[in-house]
Symmetry: C2
Subunit: 377 residues, 2 copies
């Protein structure tokens, strides 16, 4: 039988070694490959950060150029995939579409069946570009709008906004999206990444692992949380209520306030710092600080009353809404970013693999229970 006591949720249990992401939950530190997330958010961009996650170091100029080019070249979807996107009922959630389409991508990937390090990297380029395209394309399809061709001259963040909106994004919008993508790119063994590693550890392929990760991200305790935050803000706004009074009533009714607290952080989530700043700046520049003001009031109240800090999800809600992005695209956009980290973890898992297979603490009917024949039941 198993040798350790039951640890529901594996809290505090080490499941693997990893060189990708460092989190100090007490100090509020997040670092990719040793580099602090604040430096990356201030000075880096999504392409460079993805290079760092996949290769373990920052690229030199020519390497970064080649990396950008490879990503831009990978902005291609097989016509069969577009046909698949068009085939879904129009009320299906974008996360179901993304999960299904990413699974289908393996059927058209020239490296399917090859789990080598190099093939995994090639597939990671394609998946990174394709996931952004799937999110943008499906949103336009469900709205009856024509699709927009990828623009190889734009950055990953810029091209995503371009394909989503069919208008060249402002510098502020592009940089905001770029920073959001950096902040969400990896977070150690969060549930979706862990799901990806469990799947990859059977030596299954990266498409299987990423499809599973998207399924995990879909859950409201994971990627779905920022959507829940925005639903709350919309409800407060619609009812014309005071934000703090609304939250007080929710707490009195024992309802969970999404966007606060974290399994790992016991102080401010360092990603929240940037999202708060961007939410405020975007609101001011658009002359629409409503969502930020509401968020800030709720945050201060929850800080004081519940001693809980805002997490990455809390201010991404108002940030994305101020950027004009639909609420049910928040979680898909999380995937547009997190594919960078998922891919890094699948590659690391395949490079030094061991099957991930824990045990359960059996608390059911005692063995051996009788098999009573049907006629005697």
């Amino acid at each position: 039988m198993a040798t350790a006591v039951a640890t529901k949720g594996l809290e505090g249990i080490v499941a693997t070694t990893s060189s990708i992401c460092w989190i100090d939950g007490d100090a509020g530190v997040l670092a990719y490959r040793g580099i602090d997330i604040h430096k990356l958010a201030e000075q880096s961009n999504f392409e460079e950060t993805t290079y760092l996650l996949w290769n373990g170091r920052l690229p030199k100029g020519a390497e970064l150029d080649a990396f950008r080019e490879e990503l831009a070249k990978a902005r291609v979807l097989d016509p069969k995939i577009i046909e698949l996107l068009r085939s879904f009922p129009k009320d299906v959630t974008p996360m179901e579409v993304l999960r299904t389409a990413v699974s289908a991508l393996s059927c058209y990937d020239p490296d399917e069946g090859d789990n080598s390090h190099d093939a995994n990297l090639r597939k990671s380029f394609r998946l990174t570009s394709q996931i952004a395209m799937l999110v943008a394309d499906y949103d336009r399809i469900r709205k009856g709008k024509p699709l927009v061709d990828a623009d190889p001259s734009l950055s990953h963040a810029g091209n995503f906004l371009w394909m989503l909106n069919s208008e060249k994004p402002s510098e502020t919008a592009t940089r905001t999206m770029d920073i959001a993508l950096i902040l969400h790119a990896d977070h150690e063994l969060n549930a979706s990444t862990f799901a990806a590693r469990v799947i990859a550890a059977t030596l299954s392929d990266i498409h299987s692992a990423i499809t599973g990760a998207i399924g995990a991200l879909k859950g409201p305790l994971h990627g779905g949380a920022n959507e829940a935050v925005m639903h709350m803000l919309f409800e407060i706004d619609k009812k014309g209520e005071d934000a703090v009074e609304h939250v007080k009533a929710m707490l009195a009714a024992k309802k969970k306030i999404s966007g606060f607290g974290h399994r790992v952080y016991h102080t401010e989530d360092p990603r929240a710092t940037h999202l708060r700043r961007m939410s405020e700046a975007l609101g001011k520049s658009a002359n629409k600080t409503k969502w930020f003001d509401m968020s800030r009031a709720i945050e201060q109240y929850i800080n004081a009353e519940k001693k809980l800090n805002a997490n990455v999800d809390f201010y991404s809600a108002s940030t994305y809404t101020t950027l004009g992005i639909d609420i049910d695209l928040f979680t898909p956009i999380f995937a547009v970013s997190r594919i960078a980290g998922w891919a890094a973890h699948v590659i690391e898992q395949h490079d030094d693999n061991r099957l991930i297979r824990p045990r359960a603490d059996y608390i059911g009917t005692e063995y051996p229970a009788e098999y009573t024949p049907l006629e005697k039941r």
Copy 2:
């Protein structure tokens, strides 16, 4: 930071409590809800075993009748799903198709968005019937054969063989498939089931969890193993080699022999006992004991030389081949059975949920690493 030492692969670590499956790896015991697998293999059937896994006890006569009826009624695929099956390139593996199609099923499921116990049960009925249909239908589509309508008068095992082959299966074939489905129906926190629970624990939906599980099952260290066994037997046969000499040469070349050894069992896998018996009986009744004889010789050699026992995958290879089933359907058939256990585990997870989120032991570049600006690299 995390509080436990690194346990690569979570070997021996308890990840959750569970009332579903009991394994004693030292004694070679497997039991569903306390009932020994030998009793179930000898006296039960897949429908009754699935009822047991989902409800925690054996059904009374009327309950079993209602359960069979519900499963038979669920033998329906939306025409859009059939269209999807027809759209794949014909050389795509059935596991990629199954993973994609199961993901797509949520888009047509009336209970999508409802993770309650009752909705999960309703979705489990549908998934159980639909997975068997997807496997049979895709095999016929890729072979250019017309699809076969489900027959509500047949058992789950019988209907699967009927839809696959378009001929009424013999009693022996049906009972063999039925027992194979019982034996594969659950196995505690194996990698695919664990993946399903990690995904479900974000409160994502059962389709996400099962899609991820199928992705995990696809790997050669999990469901893919019986395919590897059969590839070996075919190779030996094609080259006209002696089975034991072939295996000796593989061992000398440090190649892994699939179908032997198990993370949990340190004695005979109790499922192997039944599959060995069925492989032999089927071979004798078909006057084709070649695959069984070859398997038995290899097993005796590996027992003696490596002290390793055959696992569930070893004799399922020759059993399925003697039933006339294509090699790349072995893993999909594993899914046709394991959906029973996956569903039981997702329901159990949702009924008393906690996010599954372990930690990694960080061994990468020490924090804080410098962020050198691009021009200085």
